[in-house]
Symmetry: D2
Subunit: 318 residues, 4 copies
């Protein structure tokens, strides 16, 4: 996670500055503020602002003030109730803003969550750094044989080296040619040596065109702002074991920030959403019959093989 | 604006409490925080939280840090550029939360702005106070003759008194019967005297049913949270001279808070949006011909009578 | 559900007109098109347009054409898979538009579902009919004693009659005075007899003001358009046994239209969403222990009394 | 725009099939249905479904039926009024669905319009075709000198050839290596010849990983569905002369479909939005002074140089 000198100076400056506020303040999150949490080889997530806390959720649910003096146990009970019954609006009263550095192919998945505010680094206006995501060898997985969008065993030895070389070389060459097309003095041009004359000036191609030569593992950055309700929806999808590893690691870093920020809501989320399993009405029927002592098999259950397996795994019976 | 003792105590408490934060802080808005600004006869608006400032807009637009040291004039220029060209995402990086008390018929207009987060006082769960909006005599306007949704001259004398009496009596009677149907000890029951037995216990009707007896000028309350971009859209519609007076006064109070919060963005908003006039391509053609010295009349202009009048008024020629 | 002669004529006209289209068409829904389904005493729901069908969901999920010839069983399996794993975007590819007539207090709940398009009858511009929702005696429920927002036993005898009289009289008087304030010839004025002079012309109050005198059980109308994903979210909340009866009956009528429109998606919805129960991680642990034969009681379960009861009820053990 | 045999067969099939419907139907759009309109070198846009027409906008605005028999001129007047005063909800009552094939860097701009429904071809699940966008020589523009995100003069001769070669070679090599990493029999592998053994089986890398090696000019596809209001917002931004050429050509093709679909709304859009110019309050002041005959220069105008230039250009004075 190579931060530029400018970025480091900015973080230092914010770390020291402090002002009094009468807004709700969360010391545990203040301590994390501005500091980048490293993710993948060059990426990071850092919290740059927030609004609200656990009490703001309770306050919105009660739409009544002057009741803030109730015992914490009652507030926790209310938050758990709201989470269990999927009430969404009180969780929308908290807001958080992140600065994220991430590979473009991850950004393309992430942006599908529409209920957020985003400002991305513009490659029409600026020049993307020469940084690419290259997986660690232990994450270089083969295509899963039984799951069309999953991963199987890890590639090893020669094959792994060859794949990593391809990824590295192609990304580097594409960025070198990007820089050459631009011919901008600002761009890094550490790779290929173009003919002397061109090297000095490049081709001067428009940035909005040159960027098309970059590979999808090139890093980009954005500010991403969301309310807590939509953030939890994002996390519940992206922390799932079926989510792609390269986005899951961002979700994991963000979950840590949520734990510091709204510990009660986060605990309820982990119990009722992350660790939960939804029984369909057919599954509910199967569980009832099992509890009644019936020796039920998949064939007689009314469930498909796939649903039966999912249920047995959830019940710890597979 | 009768605040309950609980509410006043809560405001006092927040007014004194203060904590250090490393987040962006706006002293001018801090000074307004929590304090209700009276609107209409019993309503109010108060800011209860906020996130971001003018600099956060600039930061998002640049998606680059370490540039926070530029001169204010450059930042102002960028914010003005963004406003002029209707860039929306940088303004979405600021967020504000209000607590509002407002008549139900105003709430029904307001809620049509969907891009906000809302928690309203629930009349299924709680009991609405005995407070109704009754217009000041000078706002008791007749139906406009030339605008199907506008107001004309103010009603006067006897007629005005009679209308106000009808509004007052119907609202009071409906709330008295609401309280009687509920029979809840919590509810105010200052009006009708029901038969002794019922008076002690009322009918015990479900709250979710009894509320249907209330009139649309009964006050409700909500927390309403929005990003700056959507707030400005709300304000530009509701500050318009065609907006209903009873919602415009809320928008005016909120505009004051925006001025304190993001003074640069607010000034740009007032220049480029509030005071602006959009020329259609046909209108643009008319202005060019007028500038060329042509003595143009509506008939030859290609504009409808209505559009011609709107244009002449904007140009100060009517 | 008193339809105006204009409305009836319009429905007749559409019932006969037919044009060829190359779009996806669903005969079962075509048969319901335009025809109002009565709801409550004066309300209705009717489908006025739709786009897509079960196959459109499959097509979007595959984002591939030329595969439309697969067997129905495969398509059904894919739709069930999408529903089980809460994939939302393929269901967003279908769209439906309703015309609804409903009491204002129901409209106020309904509008909280923001992800829809709405055009409501405007009481700034037009005059609301003299129609109010008055509950059937069997729905005149007392406040629940153990659920702050629920209903208990039905009111009976004298008490019921008195409450219904209050509702009827207050709504009628408020509308009569509304009409009197307006003094518009278009408005029904069947009730109070105002002094002769005023009766002829009324007060001429602006419509946007006069409407505040109406009670919340007055009927309004709107066009409401939603994609299938958001419609199913709406239905799952409003078909729930905790939803207020007066909105649930609208949801039930709409569920019928969904069954006709996208039968496969609707069946999956009923199995995986309507009839489903979500086990939290603590509940999952309890079910595992019960299946292992443990004689578990609430106290030792780690669940609150409330959660334990909810679980036992779902498992058919209470 | 190479369509696969499957795609062509599917289009043929739909072109012939036709069913009766009682929904609003637009013959001019029916004639375009399913047929791909070529965009760029391999892309296309085609309408695959729609809902509503000009009359649906009017109907929603009136929220009243039985008035459909009014003269067309009145309907047109209402639609023009709605467009001029930026009423949005009636235009939301129409919906359209497109199937689009487009380069990834264009998709990344497009997806920023959040108020739409999207299903994109998944490169986690499937394999992307070996098709890249390579600009026509006349669109190979240099970076603008005075606009940081714009284009200047066209590159010519040797330089142009070299840049096109770089783009072509890098995209092809990256896709060849992508196919090699996958080792899937389905993937085209026309380029590099890997060592014999690997060629037969490739590396079997997970699809979700291999895709990161692709360049941003690789084509993807999606279904994209939007209501008319949001579609017009999209078009007004992307038809602008400052929009990147490669997305503007898609917007132009879509504008043609809107003209066929809702001709009245589209004409109003072109007059009031596309050809419009918004005067800020300062600009309005300048226009008034110019009309009064004042010989005003930029320095004395109160406008910045940039705003002055924009205004003079709009007024045809530059």
């Amino acid at each position: 996670m190579p931060l530029s000198p400018d970025q480091l100076a900015e973080i230092d400056q914010h770390s020291q500055a402090s002002a009094p506020t009468r807004r709700a303040t969360v010391p545990a999150l203040e301590a994390m503020l501005y500091r980048p949490m490293p993710v993948l080889d060059h990426g990071f997530v850092r919290v740059v602002d927030y609004m609200g806390d656990d009490a703001a959720i309770v306050q919105a649910a009660r739409v009544s003030y002057g009741r803030g003096t109730r015992k914490v146990s009652e507030d926790a009970g209310l938050i758990r109730y709201l989470m269990r019954h999927r009430h969404s609006t009180p969780f929308e009263m908290c807001e958080i803003k992140y600065h994220v550095k991430l590979p473009i192919f991850v950004a393309r998945q992430w942006i599908r969550h529409r209920m957020a505010n985003v400002n991305e680094y513009s490659a029409r206006y600026s020049i993307l750094d020469r940084e690419f995501y290259i997986p660690e060898p232990e994450h270089l997985a083969a295509q899963s044989q039984n799951n069309r969008q999953g991963r199987g065993a890890v590639l090893e030895g020669e094959a792994a080296r060859e794949v990593l070389d391809l990824l590295r070389d192609d990304a580097a060459r594409c960025h070198d040619h990007y820089a050459l097309m631009l011919g901008d003095e600002d761009a890094d041009q550490p790779g290929d040596q173009p003919p002397a004359e061109t090297a000095r000036r490049g081709y001067g191609l428009a940035r909005e065109l040159a960027r098309m030569n970059l590979t999808l593992n090139t890093y980009t950055q954005w500010y991403w702002k969301s309310d807590l309700h939509n953030l939890l929806s994002f996390l519940s999808l992206r922390l799932d074991s079926h989510a792609q590893f390269e986005i899951r690691v961002y979700a994991e870093a963000m979950l840590e920030t949520v734990r510091a920020w709204v510990p009660t809501a986060c605990a309820a989320f982990e119990d009722y959403r992350l660790g939960a399993f939804t029984l369909s009405s057919s599954m509910l029927d199967v569980v009832r019959r099992l509890l009644a002592g019936e020796a039920l098999e998949q064939k007689a259950s009314g469930l498909s093989r796939r649903e039966w397996d999912e249920l047995m795994q959830a019940l710890g019976r597979s």
